[in-house]
Symmetry: C2
DNA sequence: CTGAAAGCGCTTACAG
DNA sequence: CTGAAAGCGCTTACAG
């Protein structure tokens, strides 16, 4: 044991166990070719001394930092919270740690901020969330530094850059089918902002579900929106003040669906009695409002887990080398969450 | 310049600048006693080479990791998001990085999880958020490892352990005074869960404001709650169904205030026309609902900034050594946010 | 104001 | 199956 109260090093463990530090290193890194007795003995000393290898020493000598970086923009977003949750848990299981950095998507010194993190910390990988995963400047900085990264739900996939996402088109199709199966034929749709690809994807899913039932969308029932509570409420005001009201509204995210609920309540329209409402995202409020919201759950935490695994499993060179892009761009299964805001008409 | 594409080291900078690595180190660490010309020359080479000192090497040699750890429990909480935001920004300014870890407050291997982070990463400090900042096991693990930490809004302060908080009592008093100044005399109060000290503090502030006006609280207008939307809605149902309704409701957090709003709407009660409602926290929804909520903003991001500063400014030994506890336990100024849910009666 | 030496605590080749 | 040596890229004393 070391003389002073200082924490034990690999040398202390080796001396105590009567082996070389190389053997201790082998045991700790689960390298094969160590006699079982030796391994047990080392492990026993490790436990007794509460020894944990120091990350900075491992990193300096071994070239791996055991750090995964998470870059995000909006700190309050529920999305980022879920990503972080999934990522920290998987990191813990794999012996890694998560370093977070909040970047403004339009900061003038974005490049320097990314460089600072990448060059100083040398994370073994980076996870990028929207909208940073679509920022050319950030992507370029990361590419130049050779840092492997995984994009979570990027606008569009990039050849050779790993990504994880869900299928917005398919999910929108499914939730539209739910409304159709409940007998709704006059279904309004509130779009997202045009600069987000999810907006188009969800709208497309909505349309294709209608088409599959030989239905044509009523142009007057299609309203613009911007994924915010206020725009949802506004759009709903238009829709619900019409002579011929829709019997259901598909707001393409939950924030807008919450706005629809508020508008319906103000107009004295019972949900789901007189109007069915569905959202998209399964935000925390979706389960809390009354009536609770039927929506689509994005597997956000799972996406983050998968992202960590892709980063840890091997260097990006390996990933990009596989010409099979299917392995590089993963699509995770979403989930329809049926609650109280939908009813047969 | 290094031969291969490898990133430059301090040796490359020293060679290029025609000085010793020690001098480069001095410049980079802003140590005094370097000739201005020398400093400029070094800095020029640093820029040209895009050199950034490697954290693992600095850490191994210097004993500082330039890492601050953030321990939290509930990942979705808005509170944690703000803490993280404030902390990452201040860390960036100070040349530090933030490592996050999500821990279950009642995990059986809590001790090991804390140890893993502390012993492997050796962060220069830890920030603890509720409820982890009140967990004896976590606190003990950190103390034994000698890791400096700052508690954010702990239930109660601990001698010698730095903390940052706001004054719940005073804030509750202020927002109650607001209602009183608007002419309200029948003010209901919805309490928080008894196991959180904020519940008692806010209630106490409410009471003392009443007393200061020679008013006595009506026991029937005091309702229990648990800081959730559902309990707020339920409590409001009781309160608003009474023969003699209160003219104002003080829900001791925003989630419950949102529940009050929902209940009022269902009962056809106009807010703020027939009922004023105030909350506490300034959650994201508070500004989005209609009517928007009058509430108290906790300076959460600022608390995190201050926490980082306390950690970086000096070793905990120094902090604890100051017998003056006032410097160790900081109280930050809150803010009354007056919106549309309150009106004179 | 500046530098040569030692060392932080590990892992990576390389031997045996 | 195991070990002795070198080295990762910095900072800390210590000199001058």
């Amino acid at each position: 044991m070391s003389a002073r109260g200082a924490s034990p090093t690999i040398v202390d463990v080796a001396r105590e166990a009567g082996v070389s530090i190389k053997t201790v290193s082998r045991v700790l890194n689960h390298e094969p070719g160590v006699h079982e007795n030796t391994r047990d003995q080392v492990l026993k000393v490790v436990e007794a001394l509460r020894y944990r290898p120091k990350q900075s020493a491992r990193s300096l000598a071994g070239g791996r930092s055991f750090l995964i970086g998470l870059l995000y923009y909006d700190p309050s977003a529920n999305f980022v919270g879920s990503v972080q949750q999934g990522a920290t848990l998987r990191c813990r299981e794999l012996g890694y740690h998560l370093v977070v950095e909040s970047l403004h998507n339009d900061a003038p010194d974005l490049r320097q901020q990314v460089d600072r993190m990448v060059l100083a910390l040398r994370p073994d990988g980076m996870i990028l969330t929207p909208p940073l995963c679509d920022n050319p400047e950030v992507l370029a900085a990361l590419r130049e530094s050779g840092t492997p990264c995984v994009l979570i739900s990027p606008e569009r996939d990039i050849r050779g850059v790993p990504s994880v996402r869900m299928d917005d088109v398919h999910a929108a199709e499914e939730i539209t089918n739910l409304l159709l199966s409940l007998g709704h034929r006059h279904i309004a749709f509130i779009k997202g902002p045009p600069d987000q690809s999810a907006s188009a994807a969800r709208y497309q899913g909505f349309l294709s579900a209608l088409h599959a039932h030989d239905l044509h969308p009523d142009p007057e029932l299609i309203q613009p929106g911007a994924f915010t509570f206020a725009t949802g409420r506004e759009a709903a005001h238009h829709l619900l003040s019409r002579r011929q009201r829709p019997t259901a509204v598909f707001a393409s995210n939950d924030d807008m669906a919450l706005g629809v609920l508020a508008a319906a309540q103000r107009l004295g329209l019972a949900v789901p009695g007189e109007l069915s409402v569905v959202g998209f995202d399964d935000s925390p409020m979706a389960a809390l409002v009354w009536p609770s919201l039927t929506t689509v759950r994005q597997p956000v935490a799972e996406m983050a887990r998968v992202a960590v695994e892709m980063l840890v499993s091997g260097p990006q060179a390996d990933m990009a080398a596989r010409l099979d892009d299917a392995d590089l761009h993963k699509v995770l299964r979403h989930e329809l969450v049926v609650r109280d805001s939908t009813r047969a008409r």
